[in-house]
């Protein structure tokens, strides 16, 4: 049975555990190794799940984990909307 943890980037629990065992033991490193949390939801769905998984494998409690940096825009925004030139007139 396969458990999908990051739905945007199609990452399974097994793939994440494999990366943890290879030495990618922080959320920032897992993000760069696997593109975890880099899809449209920007980690909102997967990050809490992965924190629990990481805690189980490293012994570091989730509340002591450094969260990946949050980047704007907060929700996906179309390029055309950002390019609208209303304030240039």
């Amino acid at each position: 049975m396969t458990t999908i943890m990051c739905r945007c980037e199609d990452l399974t629990e097994e793939e994440i555990v494999e990366a943890i065992n290879e030495g990618y033991t922080t959320l920032e490193e897992l993000k760069r190794k696997l593109r975890l949390g880099m899809g449209p939801c920007q980690g909102r769905t997967c990050m809490p799940l992965v924190m629990r998984l990481l805690a189980k494998h490293t012994g570091v409690p989730p509340n002591e984990m450094e969260l990946p940096v949050t980047h704007p825009p907060v929700i996906p925004v179309p390029l055309g909307t950002l390019a609208s030139d209303d304030d240039e007139k």
């Binding site: 490193e29 760069r32 950002l82 390019a83």
Partner: protein, 383 residues
């Protein structure tokens, strides 16, 4: 705890990791220290384009040699570094740029590069969906063997192979001091303990001047914040990286379908600012949709920043340090450190192991700033 190593590399980006690989391949003992995690600095934040079309011979030669190594790593060593060679299309906007580009292309061709000038109406044949009028183009240059590699995969591949050869790579480890005596390196002090060594490589990117200052060595680099964004994925649309020196824009489509690109914001000042700006997001969106109008419905997912480690002549600072034996400089890449790293690592390994220099290292030493011998500037910087 006192550790010991022939070489200490400071910085866990592409340059540090490639050096750790090349040195350990030749049985040199190596400790690499990185204050955060591998790829934390410019490597993990860059567009990771691989371009051979430069205006100075040094950069063309370095980039051409590096492309051969990237190809060797992907196809020979069978490392998955995500190498894709879809070419670089450089937009020409006016007669002045055309004159410069003709000179560049001639010089690049004389070095054996497959590169050519492209007429305005041929542009969409190379990159469909580009709007030559919208981007105010009168032509372009195109080099099909330019391309892109995955900066994370490439760095991790080098790091993984270096570790397998016995190199020690310490992350979350900060250098606090470096000791020298009578012009010889003695010891590197870190938050993990001291390392006894005779050779230090400064590959700390935008933080290189801080490392150099620990040995009272002045380097002229300044950090510049640069911004970049990524969109959601879409079907494969084009393979080339598109860049313009006049507009400063660069963008390409990744293997996974995302568009990644950047552009400088006007009046950016040097410094360690890391905050992303809305000015960038707006400016980039306007320019990108002018170049490729069909992208206007595509969602931006994320914007982030990184540093260009900029020297006065936009060329890197490499090799020995005047007055201090075996303090090796490897920084100042001014926005194009990723693409030349494989070759730089080989040249510096030769310098370290065989004490054998080469014309490129001789020209790109730190001494050139003291001698004021740096008149030729690299003009083809983007982003």
């Amino acid at each position: 705890m006192m550790m010991k190593s022939e070489v200490v590399i400071i910085g866990g980006g592409i340059n540090g990791c490639a050096l750790a690989y090349e040195l350990s391949l030749r049985d040199v003992s190596v400790i690499l220290v990185e204050k955060k995690y591998l790829t934390y600095g410019a490597t993990g934040r860059c567009g990771a384009g691989i371009r051979q079309q430069w205006s100075t011979r040094e950069n063309v030669e370095l980039a051409m040699d590096s492309v051969k190594i990237f190809e060797e790593l992907q196809h020979g060593n069978q490392w998955d570094i995500g190498l894709r060679q879809g070419g670089y299309l450089i937009v020409i906007h006016d007669e002045e740029e055309l004159g410069q580009m003709k000179k560049n292309v001639q010089m690049q061709q004389s070095l054996g590069l497959d590169v050519s000038l492209v007429e305005k109406d041929q542009i969409p044949q190379i990159v469909p969906s580009l709007d030559p009028s919208g981007m105010d183009a009168m032509g372009a240059t195109f080099c099909p063997s330019d391309g892109h590699a995955d900066p994370f995969k490439t760095t991790y591949a080098y790091a993984h192979a270096a570790r397998a050869q016995g190199a020690q790579l310490y992350t979350q480890t900060e250098v606090t001091d470096i000791r020298s005596q009578n012009g010889e390196i003695q010891e590197v002090k870190t938050t993990r303990g001291s390392i006894k060594t005779g050779i230090v490589i400064n590959a700390a990117g935008a933080w290189s001047q801080r490392i150099a200052s620990m040995l009272d060595v002045a380097v002229p680099n300044v950090p510049f914040r640069k911004e970049i964004l990524v969109t959601e994925r879409l079907q494969p649309l084009f393979e080339a990286m598109v860049i313009s020196f006049r507009d400063g824009i660069y963008f390409s489509q990744m293997e996974g379908g995302q568009i990644v690109g950047g552009i400088p914001i006007p009046h950016e000042q040097p410094g360690y600012l890391m905050e992303p700006t809305f000015t960038f997001l707006q400016h980039m969106s306007r320019t990108l949709t002018r170049y490729m109008p069909c992208l206007k419905h595509l969602n931006v997912l994320r914007q982030w920043t990184g540093f260009y480690d900029v020297t006065p002549d936009a060329l890197p600072i490499l090799g020995e340090t005047p007055g201090l034996n075996r303090f090796i400089q490897c920084h100042g890449f001014s926005g194009h450190g990723f693409m030349v790293a494989p070759m730089i690592a080989r040249l510096l390994s030769q310098l370290i192991i065989e004490e054998k220099s080469c014309p490129i290292l001789d020209r790109l030493g730190l001494h050139r700033f003291k001698d004021k011998d740096w008149k030729v500037q690299e003009r083809s910087v983007v982003g």
